[in-house]
């Protein structure tokens, strides 16, 4: 029998061209080429695998996988087959499997650069730095003259926090060069800053400072240069020099809060708890800077934070008057943090009311000659309305906002504010109506439109909300929701999920909340392309930022919100008896008389049939390119075997990324108690107790925990039991 894995020369060239087609992403042509080879050699392993790869890239996943596996079976000793299998897995974001395949391929052909490089990318994606280091080392050995491999190696040392080795690698490479490579100014500068960063993080601050001085003129990113220098000087406790650098930075951007605060800190001012002396110093420095930068906004705001009593009043009067005249819509927001001080809040209120009286009486501020324009009056009204809304005094807030609307009925902001006031007063229906009026005033304003959608969802008008959201989504997407999902519009999905949950449509709520989780996974997966790109483009520092950001992606507030909502929903479902399909259907038509119910059910069934038909037709049309939603109503999620089990991954990520939030520990306690993992539950119970021992949920959790634990006492092993009993005695009364 002839070897099935041998090709004649003609097929061999075809095979090579197929490989090229893959590289230039001509998947359809590649598929044809492989099919041509397979006509003559139907069992050729490598071609089969390659065909599978093309199929997968064209969206025909199942067929593709079958072909690839078939290929491997026919030629298990080919690195190409294993490489292809790795590529297919990578395409599916199944990185761990992919790493295994690559390792297998390298066992067969250990010097294949392409495979080693791909492997390195996967390892960095999986944050397997030790292995990455080995792989990068191999790459340097394979091609010692390629700069990017050396950088990769240095980078892997940096990630392992072996700063000395990283620097040595970079130096060794540079000294091995006979002639300087051609580099752009930017590349040189980034390289220098990267080296500087390594030196700084290794703790050699003096060295880093010297390095900055030495190459100052070669570094083009002046802002980073100055920031690094200032940071190092502060850490070296050379505060006077540091202050100079921060002043230089402030000159570049006179609205940067952190520069200003650092200037204060360099003057040994305690910003958290300033003494009278400190306040004097702050005001003095601030005054000096203000003379130089009269247009800086934060310099105007800073004294308001630190001054007290009469001085504060004078400053505040000045501040408010300036910006009332200037008609600044965000005036109230700019002083919101000052508003937390009760005394100052009172002062602000009386100042604003005083100005209001003056304008109402004379149309001008006391002491001024010129009359104020009507807009000044309008913004005073808006300010007062916002102020009372912040204090949750709805009737007063409404009084002022209505005056504003009477004054200028075309200002969108006043309507939005009015809607907000109603929302805070829990009148969601009116809030929605007024927000819709605001929207109709300016139909081009996407922001108002989005707000309106949110208010509609809060009020439970889901269909209307979807229609309104659709005004701004892509016209050619199948539905507004599809486009918003594509755009990863998380707020919309969250609000909609909450609206569904309120209506008892738990399946769809679950589905949307899971969708949010998927977005975060996608964002994490999307970094893959940057592993090659950033090193090639020498943007190391931005790349490091990206890696740290992606590591913490799940600490995003929206992830927290969605995960909490999801766990709560699952726990709620868990506490209710499961409904059968019939019960669910009956519930839908609960308000109808029997005959009407029959009619409605018949109608629903017909609609369902029609939908299914339409879906089937569309599937045929769309062929294989578009994914089909196999669970449009979230029924599969509702049919999950164990709701509590589903919570576990979310509890784990909450514990990892939001360990300071009380909700995390409250939910973790509940989930682990239900799962009978009493030690874990106890750990979270203790944390939540420490955070707030008067929280109603915490108290309830303690009772539940004790009740469940006492029932299960005998199944828990002796040591754990002892610990739990001791610990629980401390908190349970």
């Amino acid at each position: 029998m002839a070897d099935i894995n041998k090709l004649q020369s003609k097929e061999n060239t075809l095979f090579k061209s197929a490989l090229r087609f893959y590289e230039i992403k001509q998947y359809k042509k590649g598929l044809k080429a492989t099919e041509q080879i397979l006509k003559k050699n139907p069992e050729h392993g490598e071609t089969l695998a390659l065909k599978g790869l093309f199929l997968c890239n064209l969206g025909r996943k199942e067929e593709g996988y079958a072909e690839v596996k078939h290929g491997i079976k026919n030629n298990i000793k080919s690195y190409i087959c294993w490489h292809v299998y790795g590529l297919v897995n990578r395409l599916d974001k199944n990185y761990e499997e992919a790493i295994k395949c690559y390792t297998q391929a390298l066992r067969i052909d250990k010097d294949n650069i392409q495979i080693v490089r791909d492997l390195a990318n996967l390892q960095i994606q999986m944050r397997n730095y030790e292995a990455l280091n080995e792989t990068e080392f191999q790459l340097v050995n394979l091609r010692p003259n390629l700069k990017q491999f050396w950088i990769g190696l240095a980078f892997s040392y940096y990630l392992l926090k072996k700063y000395d080795s990283a620097l040595k690698v970079l130096e060794a490479f540079e000294s091995s060069l006979k002639e300087k490579p051609v580099e752009t100014k930017y590349e040189v500068s980034e390289m220098l800053l990267f080296k500087n960063l390594i030196t700084e993080e290794s703790g050699d601050l003096e060295g880093a400072l010297k390095h900055l001085e030495q190459f100052e003129d070669k570094i083009v990113d002046k802002k980073s240069l100055l920031e690094s220098r200032a940071r190092i000087l502060v850490n070296l406790n050379r505060k006077e020099e540091a202050e100079k650098v921060y002043r230089e930075l402030f000159d570049r951007n006179s609205n940067c809060d952190s520069y200003l605060q650092n200037i204060f800190k360099c003057n040994n001012i305690n910003l958290e708890n300033p003494s009278d002396d400190d306040v004097k110093k702050i005001i003095e420095i601030n005054k000096g800077l203000l003379e130089k930068y009269p247009k800086s906004l934060i310099l105007r705001r800073t004294p308001l934070i630190y001054l007290k009593g009469e001085e504060f009043n004078t400053e505040m009067k000045d501040y408010l008057k300036t910006y009332f005249i200037k008609c600044v819509p965000s005036l109230f927001n700019s002083i919101k943090n000052i508003f937390n001080d009760a005394e100052k809040a009172k002062a602000i209120e009386s100042i604003a009311l005083e100005y209001y009286d003056q304008i109402v009486k004379n149309g001008k501020f006391d002491g001024d000659e010129n009359k104020q324009y009507p807009t000044t009056y309008l913004w005073i009204l808006i300010f007062l309305a916002k102020l009372y809304d912040h204090k949750r005094e709805a009737s007063k807030a409404l009084e002022y906002v209505n005056k504003a609307i009477d004054h200028t009925p075309t200002l969108v902001e006043s309507y939005m504010l009015k809607a907000r006031i109603y929302k805070h007063d829990n009148d969601l229906e009116t809030a929605m109506k007024i927000m819709n009026e605001a929207r109709e005033l300016d139909l081009q304003d996407r922001f108002v439109n989005s707000k309106c959608v949110k208010y509609m969802l809060r009020n439970g008008n889901i269909d209307e909300a979807e229609k309104t959201a659709g005004l701004f989504t892509k016209a050619d997407s199948p539905s507004p929701l599809a486009d918003l999902t594509e755009m990863q519009c998380i707020w919309y999905e969250y609000e909609k999920a909450m609206a569904y949950a309120k209506k008892g449509n738990n399946g769809l709520a679950l589905k949307l909340l899971h969708q949010i989780n998927t977005h975060f996974k996608d964002i994490y997966d999307d970094q893959f392309d940057f592993h090659v790109y950033c090193l090639r483009k020498s943007s190391f520092r931005a790349y490091i930022d990206l890696l740290t950001y992606e590591d913490k992606i799940k600490s995003h507030p929206y992830y927290f919100k969605a995960a909490v909502a999801l766990i709560r929903l699952y726990l709620k479902l868990n506490s209710q008896p499961r409904k059968t399909k019939e019960e669910l259907e009956n519930e839908k038509f609960a308000n109808l008389s029997p005959s009407e119910r029959k009619k409605a059910m018949r109608k629903a069934r017909k609609a369902q049939l029609k939908n299914a038909q339409a879906q089937a037709e569309q599937n045929q049309k769309n062929d294989t390119n578009k994914k089909v939603d196999d669970d449009p109503d979230g029924e599969k999620l509702l049919n999950a075997k164990d709701y509590v089990e589903e919570c576990i991954p979310f509890v784990k990520s909450l514990l990892e990324f939001a360990p300071t939030r009380i909700e995390t520990h409250i939910l973790a306690t509940q989930v682990y108690t239900l799962k009978k993992k009493y030690l874990l539950a106890l750990k979270s119970l203790k944390k939540s107790y420490a955070l707030d021992k008067n929280n109603a949920e915490v108290i309830n959790n303690i009772d539940q925990f004790v009740k469940n634990f006492n029932a299960d006492k005998d199944t828990v092993n002796a040591t754990s039991r002892k610990i739990i009993e001791e610990e629980i005695a401390k908190i349970a009364k």
């Binding site: 105007r300 807009t375 009925p409 075309t410 139909l443």
Partner: protein, 177 residues
Amino acid sequence: MHYYNNCYDIPNDPFVNVSLQQITPYSINSVKIINRLVFPITYNEQFYRDIIFKYNINLSRLAVVNNKPVGNICCRIEPSSNHPIVVDNVNEEILYIMTIAVLQQFRRHSIGTLLLNYIINFCKLNTQIKTILLHAQITNKAAISLYIKNGFEIVNIIRGYYKNVDCPDAYLLQKKI
């Protein structure tokens, strides 16, 4: 403590920021609200549709102060035969101002003049029109003085021009350009 008095270049007159914008389906609601507040009569939906879709879009403008719509002017071109009393040449086309309005709080800041000037200049530059006409309620002294100040003259009194309002009589005013 007043070390930063007047450090800002606050414009003395915020109305330097008046801009005239095209009226679009997106902003037509503002026009409706302004007209509802300013005029004693209500215009129907068709009126607003015509402004956007039927007449030349450059014959109407929305006056916007610091992002707030505060006034509008809407005109159309019609044959002079619609106004037989005033115009001699029957085949001539004239410009008729259907509405000109400024919110009460924003009057006396030359926004009305700005709107009128816009339309006059538009006619001079882009059309052959020689005559601008408009109706004004004879009790509306403020409006009439604005027109007179801008070179309009009263050419006729039409009794019972408006329906269902206190004073149904109107002046017909005209300006030659």
